[in-house]
């Protein structure tokens, strides 16, 4: 057992428990807070995978923006469904079974995964400058880069259009 392995097991266990809590706790606000813990666990795992940039943007986007937005959404729609109401639908046993089957399938595939060892990273592979360059290079990812911008604007426009439509009697 090396240091990273111990950290992986601890963080992985916390992440998994948090994920299970997200889908099982009855109070939705608590589910949101557990979701934040799970996302933070994933960020630590990103650091273990030697990519500090993605770890930081995981916190910046998922925890600071998406999770907060979800909690705001929970608060806005809270009166529609009380926390004491049934949160799990009638077919949850079937769903659990299906998930177990899928997990078994995934594990079967994972068992065939190559036993690769991580090579040493050279500075260039984690350098922000190379990443910034490849994002706007015509031989790089210029198209996804600009399309991402269009996608974000489309989401912004669409969400404002849908959420701002006045309801009856509003």
């Amino acid at each position: 057992m090396t240091g990273p392995q111990i950290i992986f097991l601890a963080v992985g266990a916390v992440t998994l428990i948090a994920a299970i809590m997200v889908v099982t706790v009855p109070r939705l606000v608590h589910a949101g807070l557990w979701l934040i813990l799970a996302l933070a666990g994933i960020a630590v795992l990103f650091i273990l995978l030697d990519n500090g940039f993605l770890a930081v943007i995981q916190v910046a986007i998922y925890i600071d923006a998406i999770a907060i937005l979800i909690i705001i959404g929970v608060m806005l729609t809270r009166t529609a469904m009380s926390d004491t109401a049934r949160q799990i639908n009638r077919m949850w046993l079937g769903a659990a079974f299906a998930c177990l089957v899928i997990m078994a399938g995934l594990l079967a595939i994972v068992s065939q995964a190559p036993t690769a060892t991580a090579g040493l990273l050279v500075e260039d592979q984690v350098s922000m400058e190379a990443l910034g360059r490849v994002l706007v290079d015509v031989d790089g990812f210029i198209l996804p880069f600009e399309v991402a911008s269009v996608l974000l604007v489309a989401a912004l426009v669409g969400a404002i259009l849908v959420a701002m439509t006045p309801a009856r009697g509003d």
Binding site: I61, F145, A148
Partner: protein, 118 residues
């Protein structure tokens, strides 16, 4: 590199500890005589009616939404900004186009009246 992240993890824990220690200390030193009136919700002396879950305005969602979109924009733009000094002119223009598209989104929200505090 790894030690840097260890440092960050430790200081985050220490930071939380800096807040936890006084609160724990207060729990030991401070008095603890709870009574019914004391643990009532504080509402300037008026008795609380109903539960605390007031209906929030949809406006908060719009602000969170615009923040989310610009947050992601920034994440895409920060690597671009780091590489800025070594980029050719057309690459800078691509970044500017990226910003302009999002500025268009902001202009739409403005025209639609989503930015007003109601």
């Amino acid at each position: 590199m790894t030690l840097d992240w260890l440092f960050i993890g430790t200081i985050l824990v220490v930071g939380a500890g800096m807040a936890a220690a006084p609160i724990a200390l207060q729990n030991i030193l401070g008095p603890r005589k709870p009574n019914k009136t004391k643990s009532e919700t504080y509402e300037c002396g008026i008795e609380t009616v109903g539960d605390s879950w007031v209906q929030l305005k949809g406006q908060y969602y719009i602000f969170g939404l615009i923040f989310l979109i610009f947050d992601i924009e920034a994440v895409f733009l920060f690597p671009w900004a780091v590489a800025y000094n070594r980029l050719q002119f057309y690459m800078v223009v691509e970044g500017v186009v990226f910003i302009l598209i999002l500025a268009g989104g902001l202009a739409y929200a403005w025209r639609k009246g989503a930015l007003e505090w109601v």
